[in-house]
Amino acid sequence: MTTLDTRPTTPTPTPTPTPTPTPTEATPDARDRTRVDAPAKATGTAPYAYEQPVDEPLHLFPLVATIARGTITAVDDAQARALPGVRLVLTHANAPRIRVRTDAPLSILQSSEIHHRGQLIGAVVADSPHVAREAAGLVRISYDEQPAELGFEIDDPRATEPRRVNAFKHGTHERGDTDAGLARGTLVEAVYSLPMEFHNPIEPHAVTAIWHDASAFNPRATRLTMYDTNQGTGGLGALVAPVLGLLPSQIDVISPYVGGSFGTKGWPHPHLVLVAMAAKLLAGRPVKYAMTRQQMFRTTGHRPASAQRIRLSVEADGRLVAIDHQSWAPSSRLKSYVDQTVSPTRMMYDVAHLRTIHHAVVQDTAPGSFMRAPGEFSGMFALETALDEAAHAVGVDPIELRVRNEPVRDPETGKPWSTRNLVACLRAGAEQFGWDERQPVGTQRDGEWLVGVGVASATYPNQYFVPNRAGIRFTGGRYVVELQASDIGTGAWTILPQIAADALGVPVDLVDADIGRTGLAWAMPAGGSAGTYSWGDAIIAAAAKFRRRHGDSPAEGAHETATGRMPRGSRGYSRHAFGAHFAQARVSTVTGEVRVDRMLGVFAAGRIINPRTARSQLIGGMTMGLSAALHEEAHLDERFGHVVNGDLAGYHVAAHADIGDLEVVCLEEHDPWFGATGAKGIGELGIVGVPAAIGNAIFRASGTRLRDLPFTPDRLLDAWG
């Protein structure tokens, strides 16, 4: 087994050779640790946000705008107020004033203006959830409705080119002479589209807020307790507290267990302000709010739709000459958000002539936000499908085509790769999946089913932007690793003690975690797949400091906190994780239904801290990718501005019966330029490229090229006439 250990020894970066790694053995592994919170979760006794015990709670139900743009002209809440058990009707007429604005959507209830349908415009608080909901239905709201801009298209004349898009990526990047390059070789040109998608964690957003006014004369003595579900507690202090007239230190956030997120709980959404405002007006009483599934389609973000055009030229030997990749996507007038859709095209392959542009079209909708692998997911669907089209156009095997365009350095920045083992992933996957047994397009048949295999690459970048802090405490003969990290199902409760145990040189069974609340060392939210390696740096630094100060026999209560920073010199490297997806799809010639029999994902994602939880997370990404490939599609009604299919009956996510055999292989790799753990991020890597692998398998099975997600039966039946 080859372990790639290129620990930094000099601040001057030098190109690092990346020998071909070998697959990790599936045999018992010292790193394998059973998920520590699994017993509590399997018995239902791990307390999520709504489940934290509070005394005599009141219940909130929101009022939401039923127009896409305009103003409120009147609110008639007489009937609601008359209902027994109603404690408060909150609207812009009586809401606390916001004096410090942070994120635009959080400034709710300050005027009569409506920015989007579903906008929070008030709330009813009552003794029971049923009375609150009934009373909310009794509030009559009148509007002056204005025309709204809804809907966008490729080459939209209203489009602008943002200078920056999500994750600080450049809006536009060009190199070489793209138009001249496109005139050489074989031209492949196509348009690809993805629908609006919603995260839909199974735990809906929920929060209980308690406002404690300690003294009428000292507002700084006020404290706000928020039992919340989030990817990191820090967002409430940074963005919600100022809006409420509080210092970040005045909010206590408790969020030990989070029932899934995928991005939607990574940024504070306006319901947190709504519930806190109600709690302020009802100081001393806990105010509880559990968002309905339908409400989750309104103010908690979504993956914006995108329409993309790719034009690429390829030589007869499969070498790419030029790529022009452009994306059009809607962005909310209330708050701009644009996925970094075409950014992976800049670094994936060795292309001298390249043009990549993001276009945004302003809409009167709720803001989009990051959803699992924002940008990479959408852009790699188009790019990896286009590469398959190019491979078939020139008669080169799709894996060989990718190998022949493997760049020695990052073609966007010219920097050396920290580690890049895409080719090894493709080769290992081809062997394990049985790629050599593939049949020519449209020739493999099993009764009514056409069968084929497809491949696509995956990538996800380093997202280490800020230093983190972590603490190590020794108490009761045990160590505790403390930081404001969050376990959203990723396994942080399990693996952060593993990182600490390694760094402290003690058995992992002696190490506990204290995460998921404020009052601990500051750490970035669980996002950008950066938690493990960036938190890991802080934990390793804290452990080293702890041992330096307290030795191997620390006194009871010994405690140290330290800051972890990205490795010195790491900016000299292009840092990405890579992978390859293989899928076998079958297509019914009768119904157009697509089934995915089996998938294999092979990943080179740095050191794997815990192969058990890593495998689950990567399989989870593949499952969500399959779900997006075959099922997920939100329909925005362009007349009224709402999502028509806004629940789990209309917005289909993959169920048990949709998922066949999925397997994951992680190649041995150690990347010191991501951090001292040697790990890369895996939370998002697993979803990137999956729809392309499945679409490419559909093409090999049926000869039909699908370029619009999801691959529902009607798409195939339409294609077949």
Partner: protein, 182 residues
């Protein structure tokens, strides 16, 4: 209090409760909001996700679609009634061993559903994918398990591991005469 309360008796995980409820209250809301039994989860409130699955008198139900007033006298088992952290039930242990969960929010419903599903299969109940619906001997293939568990959504994507966990239990040669003890 709205003045229209109905009296409902529920036995939950072996404990009897007498409740005066708003007639609109579901079994799910009675458990969570009235009794603080949080081992049952709310994911959609519309019978679309399965997170609220509990076992009532031996059968799995979606507690969000069940009005509590209609379940007067019912015997309800939640995941907390199938085992405890220090003494997991067989299905829960299999979920832990197979890492059949990530965020854990759908898990209690998955566990309850799986336990009752195995009983249904043992009783010879067919599914959509059963080749012969008159055959009282159900062979629990992976396809059968997947089909029978499709009412329980898992957004983290633990399906592969959940099926493996259920198959582990299905293949354990244990007596199941007390139903729901798995």
């Amino acid at each position: 209090m709205t003045g229209h309360e109905v009296s409902v008796r529920l036995t939950v995980d072996g404990t009897e409760h007498a409740l005066e409820l708003d007639p609109r209250v579901s079994v799910l809301d009675a458990l969570r909001d009235e009794l603080a039994v949080m081992s049952v989860k709310k994911g959609c409130d519309h019978g679309q996700c399965g997170a609220c699955t509990v076992i009532v008198d031996g059968r799995r139900i979606l507690s969000c679609l069940a009005l509590a007033a209609s379940y007067d006298g019912a015997d309800v088992t939640t995941a907390a009634g199938l085992g405890a952290v220090e003494e997991l039930g067989a299905m829960q242990q299999a979920f832990v061993d197979r890492d059949a969960l990530q965020c854990g929010y759908c898990t209690p419903g998955q566990v309850c559903s799986a336990v009752a599903m195995l009983e249904e299969a043992r009783a010879g109940m067919p599914s959509h994918v059963s080749a012969d619906v008159t055959d009282t001997e159900v062979e629990l293939t992976d396809a059968e398990v997947r089909e029978r568990m499709s009412g329980n959504l898992c957004r983290c994507g633990a399906y592969v591991n959940i099926v493996a966990a259920i198959q582990d239990v299905a293949h354990q040669d244990v007596a199941h005469q007390d139903g729901g003890a798995a």
